[in-house]
Subunit: 338 residues, 2 copies
């Protein structure tokens, strides 16, 4: 019997896992943004002391995980499993970062929503009785993403107004069966939603329908209304994607705006930082969660939060072959009380 399921897509954890530790590391541009006070480490030149951008991204993951373990007062060897992912081909930032860790490893790919996928699977492992400690770490790097998905930085390509800026950031969370809060209470596992958007420079439009699908399902499965949460945070829809999400809810007679925020909007300053529609990348929502959001919960700013990272599951190859951009969104409910 799957007694822990509510409705079709939501899990209610019987013993909500504790966020025992969490940390993030970011690049220079992110450190110059409005969330500066919530980052554990800001690198001066985005290299993280490495000789290639890919090695830099790998170093970011290692550092974020090490800092999160420190805060949880645990050694890496305590972790029963590590769940990790990134945007690079064959998810190499994660594999190479985990290579020295000696932790049973699960590699994930869910584009910019990977932190959500990782938190869900890590929670299942804990609540199912398969683990006492789990780690989740994800990353993205502007310079690795640009040359892989778009053009080498040296080309100096112009960006379209709907484009988003891949955040140079890594976020890590240590989840435990027991401990101080906040706690992860519910998970809504997303389906792939594709409404036919073909413009890979407009990922907000591609992902907004997936966010709408997962959020509506979450409200239906749990019987909660948006008002139940102090904050509903998508990531990373950006400015345009947020508008589309709000419009989709408006058609259902729901005004999501007062309680909605988006990690892609939060991380950069729209006035002083020229990132067009906002931030993106696995590291964007992960670094906002493991800093601004979870710190805020510990400080009592919010009691109940719904974290809903979004991902665009295309590749340059599928775009060249004329394909549309499928989206996905996973939602996890986080509460100060278990």
């Amino acid at each position: 019997m799957s007694t822990k399921k509510l409705g079709k897509q939501t899990i209610a954890l019987s013993t909500p896992p504790s966020f025992a530790g969490f940390a993030n590391v970011v690049g220079k541009n992110e450190g110059a943004g409005p969330l500066i006070g919530s980052f554990d480490y800001v690198d001066a030149d985005d290299t993280f002391g490495q000789s290639s951008w890919e090695k830099s991204e790998c170093a970011m993951q290692k550092q974020a995980l090490a800092l999160a373990l420190d805060k949880a007062k645990q050694a890496a060897s305590t972790l029963d499993y590590l769940f990790a992912g990134d945007l690079l081909n064959q998810c190499v930032s994660s594999s190479f970062a985990a290579r020295d860790q000696d932790i049973p490893f699960f590699g994930l790919y869910s584009a910019c929503s990977t932190m959500g996928e990782g938190l869900i699977l890590a929670s299942m492992a804990l609540d199912g009785g398969f683990a006492q400690w789990t780690g989740v770490v994800v990353s993205s790097h502007f310079c690795t993403a640009e040359r892989q998905y778009r053009t080498p930085l040296e080309y100096g390509s112009q960006r379209t107004p709907t484009a988003q800026w891949t955040a140079t950031a890594a976020g890590a969370a240590i989840l435990a069966q027991q401990g101080e809060g906040p706690y992860l209470t519910h998970c809504t596992v997303g389906k792939i939603v594709d409404k036919g958007i073909k413009d890979t420079n407009n990922m907000g439009a591609a992902m907004a329908p997936a966010a709408y699908d997962t959020l509506s399902t979450h409200f239906q499965d749990t019987g909660r209304s948006p008002d139940y949460y102090d904050l509903i945070v998508t990531g990373d829809l950006g400015h345009l994607g947020r508008e589309l999400l709000l419009e989709l809810f408006r058609q259902d007679g729901i005004d999501l705006a007062p309680r909605h925020a988006d990690c892609g909007i939060l991380i950069f300053d729209p006035k002083d930082q020229d990132v067009h529609c906002g931030g993106s990348g696995c590291g964007c929502s992960a670094s906002v969660l493991t800093g601004y959001l979870l710190n805020g919960m510990r400080e009592g700013k919010w009691n109940k939060l719904l974290f809903c990272p979004t991902g665009a599951l295309h590749s340059p190859l599928t775009a060249f072959q004329g394909e549309t951009v499928p989206g996905i969104c996973h939602a996890v409910a986080i509460s100060r009380q278990p």
Copy 2:
């Protein structure tokens, strides 16, 4: 309490999930090999009716999943979750195949060991009480892999003797909380092991130490000796990787040879099919499991089997940057009795 753990890396499932349905589809070359009788569908020209190799691989995943669901006598909507992965950048074969399925989706990346990762996570979801039905599907295609990892087929590049041949194959398994066997009883989650191999045309050597690590840990965690199993099947070490694995066990005074087989060796005929060291790719071990091995168990050929797919977690980019090839191996124990 993680009461379901044995030792550091192994899980003993309290209610071993049933392989309720399983199926595979393969390409022409695989269909001309010794396992022809165990494939559900062999495509005549490897296109699967599609206009690009990537779309062909996507079609393979859909077909394998549909056939496995048919055999389990279930609709896709029955599945609580789908776990899927492949070798392509951003795992697009999986995302695009799942786009039309309307099933909560977890994207995985564990190179050629992805079937193992998927079976473990799907089992945790079932045994943890989060699901009643789960699906796992993975794929690889010779033509998509060659142009992504090596050179376009049109170049007609020569292959080195240690190279393996990416199988054009997809395998799918439907796991259920209850049902007829075989049953998945134990999982050993692999760590990343890197012994410094830099030759990406010698993946058997890169992965053999990971297979040794996971297998030895499995025997230690469970207190079982290799003799406990009727068959221990790695995938895909190939001919050279198998020799290295046997040698590593020989150093411990254990002769694994009599009970060992490798999916990369089983799938092609070394005399008539010029694939050098054997087959590889996510679809290789997955199609051997979901045909030859599970059929054989149902027929009573083997009672107890240890399925141990292996993966090489590098990318062309990491190789160009002078990096070594990290390996991983996940092991799942399958039994005719629950």
